[in-house]
Symmetry: D3
Subunit: 227 residues, 6 copies
């Protein structure tokens, strides 16, 4: 696994913020608290956590077209931000959060593989800091975030199961995916897909063993950053 | 698992077509052969398989806004059609297919849960029929589709692992996902996600056991329809 | 005129539905009842009937781009759905309908010329079934649909007036158009246009004679389907 | 019929231009010659005539939203500009025109009913002037525009057939439409539609009688303007 | 400076209208009064003035694509209409205007350089006429427009400071810009930009001297038109 | 003037990059070299410099909607990126640069007023570093960037001319603008606009005196960062 670094408070306006670095992948995560919730839960007393994802045009090796210029978010972006939102929600007690929305923005400053996993891991930290603020202010009484959420990528590269693929590994891997888990080892989301090949159930199990170890390390880094 | 029915040749223009019914979920799948390929593989000699997905506005219990009116495909649509394309490609030898593109359109006529899985299973049949036509015409010599691809949804509903969820089950399930596999039992894609809860590795294994049985049944239906 | 078939109840969710076949042209029509009306008639006590039209990408001989992907409905689509809505409204007593909206979706499953006329004829059947449901429930007392509405295409093909053109005829015809009429022989809309040629008033009259006969046959099929 | 005025050469850049006034309806028509043709006729030797239509935001009694701001042309605009293009093409010998495109822009400066008919009548004048320029330069030898094209609206207003409806008449008329004809009395397009009512074949004939007289007057005004 | 002409009352529907001609640049300006204001000043008692800008497709030497077809206003259009709105607001006492909005539409009929300046100068006249109507009706008591607003372009062309550039001058000028001023000589907006070169402070001062003279002439023409 | 800091090499992929901080305004600037140029200068031998501008959603005090979600860049964004591109081009000898394009992306990480000026000043540094790389590689022989370009905002706040406004000052200032200049004191662009008020020529001169001092300081910081 690559070196992890989580720097909190990277920007001054957001209720919570963290710059997470997984090797050369750097993602700025900010959490914004708003009093309104989406229409479908208005009046329910439940809170909501959602996420948006973006990449700076030159976060990658060759410049990518800005999505604002293209006129819409691409399919990959939409898929990723839905995954981040779903994953973070799984670690939040929405009753305890109360009827408010927290939006976690994950913007990739520099990309080298695994940006969606870094976004979830770093996004959880930004969310944790924002919720801390709510608890300190007495707006939230019971902690809605008891079990931290982190994510790690895995894949089969050159025939071997590999953890936390960087971009060159990722683009060569015939099978790759993401494991989103809680610090206590429960699963939130598993996505493992083959491109132009297949994999066996044994290989799937080997990857899951690796992922469990990786997530434990990430959870430790989260704990240290938010202590 | 709900009753399966696959009616081939449902429309006359497409190179391959199938109306698949999984209980009350009905999806019309058509396969279109074109001589052009996407720019990124031009001149490579490789073929391409892609998919698009849509729902008729009143396929669902309440009418949904037409995506053509909304001005874009929603995030859910984009996610689904990328999954269908990826899954079908995994079962195709793109060298044997040769430099041509096959587009599989999956349009939901009536929805009752599991539309993306039905699309993959039925889409494979439409693709198979189109490729048969290419082989009959001598345009393709070696069969590029040796191992059939099918998909089944699973979830944890009322505490129990359940196969092939219908809409009421699906909307209540705290954990649900899809297994895309080949008839020979290899995995192509696993997606298992929790909404507002988590699941254990044992539960994951129980679901995978169920899925293996379901896919075997689907593969039999595909075999019968394309015999 | 080509063989007519109207199969009602083709989908289970819609308040009214019909699959109409005019030869190889197959259109699925569904009617959706909603309690809201457009802003410009709110509080007026009047009802509203509107229509939307779409084509599955491979309904035609070569695959057409999905309008949801293109980002908007094309000019032809907009023209057609405005015509369908206008025609159906002409056969509805909006006072008797009461302040509610019925949306008729016409989706072409397979196209072989005359899809807009089939949409109107089949759309009227779906609408009739939905209104029957309202009357059975006692929500509508006086029948708002006394005179059935049907539509037939005509044209001058190879110098001869022709009824109900199929696609090869339609694309060769120098003059073609549509007659929308009631079962009792009143006109609702006449559209007759020449592309790169002109026509005389005598020819116009000959086409209208043909259309009157065609609409009588269609009205009989509608009666049979909704008896 | 309202007073007609056609002022040619209203703008200096266009190859042909005319400001047509039908009472208080004022439309500026310009014709632009380009050497390229649409892809579907490239290399055919045939010419193309197309049209676009727009309204200034305050051409109407209350301000309408600018279509450029709304992000697309509305359904009404698309319908109208397709009609104008089709009508003008019917009066042009595309072989004689040669492989070039002429775009006729019709922009409504002030609206008081009948803007699409004024656009066709005035658009023909702009087109005529542009073609004159091509003939003078020797780029076109045989005149491609032998029979002038004009359009007039008709309707049933207060029970009576009426010619050239202004806006108050038009918005009250239960039946209204447009007749596009050549100066020699041939029909190009008939559109007659009822909104919330129907009409008889006798009424249709009465309207057509009126239209023939109106178009004769318009053709005289076109002749005078382009003499 | 080119010949100025301002014709008021060019269209009948708008509360104020003027066709301004600066040489061969012709812009139709209309002012529309509405009772609603933008959300951000609702209930403040303050009025709002805003502007929109457009060009007819063949206002220019070669035909430009219609923005409604392109699906959005271009960057140049947005820049210009924001400038017009800002400039006109600077000359309006928004308390005296009262809580209403006036939209000034500036549509270029024919372009030959300096369209944004002509829009501001002519737009002020349309606005003045609309406000006159409000004052005559007693809806506005104290005149909100005490100091007229006009605009003139300047640039350095062939090494010399030049006033009111026409299109050939403008496209050759290495430095050009706009001065928006009041009739009493106060500045509202200065924009002076170099393309591929630079300019000195002395040159800037020379241009401002020229502009002061030009605006005085424009203010006289505005006075004459609205007397 | 607020404290200036310029950190070069902030991201690893771009040919040039700089994180500029003007007080609490932080902008990440990257320069991307591409061999292609825009169509209008293809084959001319001239180079091109262009810019794009964006803001992270929570760069500001309250979260702003992501432009990629809104479906287009707002008017303010378009205005700003056109200004940045124009300003940087003014400091580049496009013949010496040769037929290649450099795109400067300016993404605001944290905003506190003056983001467009910081983008120009920092963008010049990123551009300088990218050009250095071209010169080192021998792709460019003669230095195309002889006179550095920097920008500073000015305004009249509480009756006093003020340099380098932060956000609270900027939102209160009745008059504000930007001066873009070269290190040698030549002007590139002046924009000074009043919102709801006016200013005199003397005030304009006082602001320009201030700006000259500010740009000198910025040029020193640029020199230090790129030494």
């Amino acid at each position: 696994m690559r070196a992890i670094s989580i720097e909190t408070g990277f920007t001054k306006h957001a209720e919570g913020s963290a710059l997470i670095k997984m090797g050369d992948t750097h993602v700025l995560c900010t959490a914004t608290i708003e009093d309104r919730v989406p229409p479908f839960i208005k009046g329910s007393g439940l809170g909501w956590v959602t996420a948006e994802y973006g990449m700076l045009p030159r976060a990658t090796n060759t410049r990518m077209r800005r999505e604002a210029t293209a006129g819409k978010q691409g399919g990959r972006t939409v898929e990723i931000q839905r995954l981040i939102g779903r994953s973070l929600r799984a670690g939040v007690d929405r009753v305890a959060l109360g009827e408010r929305q927290i939006t976690v923005d994950c913007d990739v400053i520099q990309a080298d593989g695994g940006t969606r996993c870094a976004s979830i891991t770093g996004g959880w930290v930004a969310l944790r800091l924002a919720v801390n603020k709510l608890m300190k202010a007495g707006d939230v009484i019971s902690d809605p975030m008891v079990d931290p959420v982190a994510a790690i990528s895995c894949g089969i590269y050159a025939g071997q199961p590999v953890l936390d693929l960087d971009y060159p590994e990722d683009s060569e891997a015939g099978v790759d995916g993401n494991f989103i888990m809680t610090a206590s080892g429960q699963l939130i989301e598993v996505q493992m897909s083959a491109e132009g090949s297949t994999y066996s159930r044994d290989q799937m199990n080997a990857l899951m063993d690796l992922a469990e170890k990786g997530v434990a390390e990430l959870a430790a880094a989260q704990r240290a950053a938010t202590a």
